[in-house]
């Protein structure tokens, strides 16, 4: 039995145990292999993490874009109005004619790392149906215009929390627009 094993293993077993040199060599080999495996696992983990975060944020952004478009699309200006009555100050935009009603305002703002979209009535400050999108390290909200400089919706430029990635721009159009605007003095 021991003869067969010797043949298979290809070396003569030292019945007195390992020498220090053998131990050292074995430890060095095991350490090197361990380090290589550890590095491999760590890199794979990082890559996996990156892919997961990227695809996760892509899916989140897509869902966010859909929601933003749906909300801004509910702004429906009757074709006969001559003024959009949009109040655009700092990072907050107030737009009337939410769901076609002149007294219902859509409020869009950036606050506490979140883009906030909600509604309120003209005479109140209390917001209803508030939706939060984020977090972002920064965001710019501006009115979107067509080639004739007519306002047709809202643009959101959002910076991810990790500054390394590019900003994302989403443009959402109003559901309906006036037919004929004449600038009056």
């Amino acid at each position: 039995m021991s003869v067969q094993r010797r043949k298979r293993c290809g070396f003569i077993r030292n019945e007195n145990g390992f020498t220090y040199i053998e131990m050292m060599v074995a430890l060095i080999i095991v350490s090197l292999v361990g380090v290589i495996i550890w590095q491999g696992i760590a890199n794979a983990g990082k890559l996996l993490d990156k892919i997961t975060v990227h695809s996760s944020s892509t899916v989140k952004l897509m869902q966010m874009e859909e929601s933003m478009r749906r909300l801004i699309g509910k702004v429906r200006y009757p074709f006969w109005v001559n003024e959009l009555e949009i109040v655009d100050r700092d990072d907050e935009i107030t737009i009337p004619y939410y769901e076609g009603k002149s007294n219902t305002l859509l409020v869009v703002k950036y606050e506490d790392e979140h883009v906030i979209i909600g509604t309120r009535y003209r005479d109140t400050e209390q917001m209803d149906d508030v939706k939060y999108f984020g977090p972002f390290s920064d965001a710019t909200i501006e009115l979107a215009r067509n080639e004739d400089e007519v306002v047709i919706g809202v643009s959101f430029i959002m910076y991810a929390v990790k500054k390394s990635s590019d900003p994302v721009k989403i443009t959402a159009r109003f559901g309906s627009n006036p037919c004929w605007i004449v600038k009056t003095s």
Binding site: V59, V81, G175, S176, N177
Partner: protein
Amino acid sequence: MRDNGSTTVLILGVLGFLSIVTLSTYLFLQYSIKEINRNETIEQQRSMLIEEAEKMVDMFLHDRTPYADSRLDSVWEYIEQSKEQGIHMSLTDVSSCYGINWIRKEILNHGNLLKFGKSSDELQQYRWDTGLHFTMEPDFLDFFTHDVLNQYFTPYNFFNINICDEFALENLYFIRTGDRDKARLFRQKIQDYWKGSKPGKPRMIEPEDLKSFLGLDYEVLFPLVNAAPVINVHFVPEDILHQLFSYEYHNIPQNVFEFIVSSRMNQEWSINELEVIIGDTYKKTFLHHYIGVTTWFWQIEVTSSSDVHGPLTLRWIVVRIPIESEKEDEIEYRLLEEEFLQ
């Protein structure tokens, strides 16, 4: 030492944990990729639907008979052809009905359209109090049934100065200028003009007179307020055409009504031809302000289906901008509404 190899509970645990992590990551990535692909497909479909809708508007612009819209226009042929390519398109004239914001009391009473117990005066007061309405339901359900609203009325219509309720015109003036006093004066100006009318011989403002009648207000009111016929005879619902023809001051013979209804699917009439068909009454009464041959507001719907996301529909409302009577401007359409339905 064992010859058959060795393992420990710890190694098994680590392997099991790694398997679970890998499997869940794989499933999540698979879901993400599916979502991203789905979104890309929807975006492509949206672009395709918009292209198709733009083609239809382009066909309006290149119509060989631009001042008359009928079933004989090439756009209808295009719609038929598109069915073979798996795209469903529909085109609806949404303006050839009574304007819910401006219908006059006498036409309303003649058609007997109000709910039992409601009067045209009450409707006029309601519209005066609440202004112009962009939605018909639920705003007008106190006055009309759901069926009557959808069969006879539309919010998509221009305001022909001759046939609009004068209080509706006052409201419109106020919306366009923000000046309530001037709006009141504008309404009184219209009422004063109409005072010169005699039964069967109404005073009317024709397109060539509109600019001088409106004066400085022309710039802010035109083209929303104009003197062009609001309803297209080629697409108007039969009931509305019959009501307008049978109105006491119009009194168009039944055989004319029947001729128009039976032949309009295969005919395209110009304004002059329509005048010949209807007779002298057409120009002598308000009839030529109600009925014409042009459609002002179109609803375009384009639907495509995909295994990834099911049917996706683009709904557009486009408006044809009325041109000034003395100008031969190019015909212009504008996109008023865009909505994707899924």
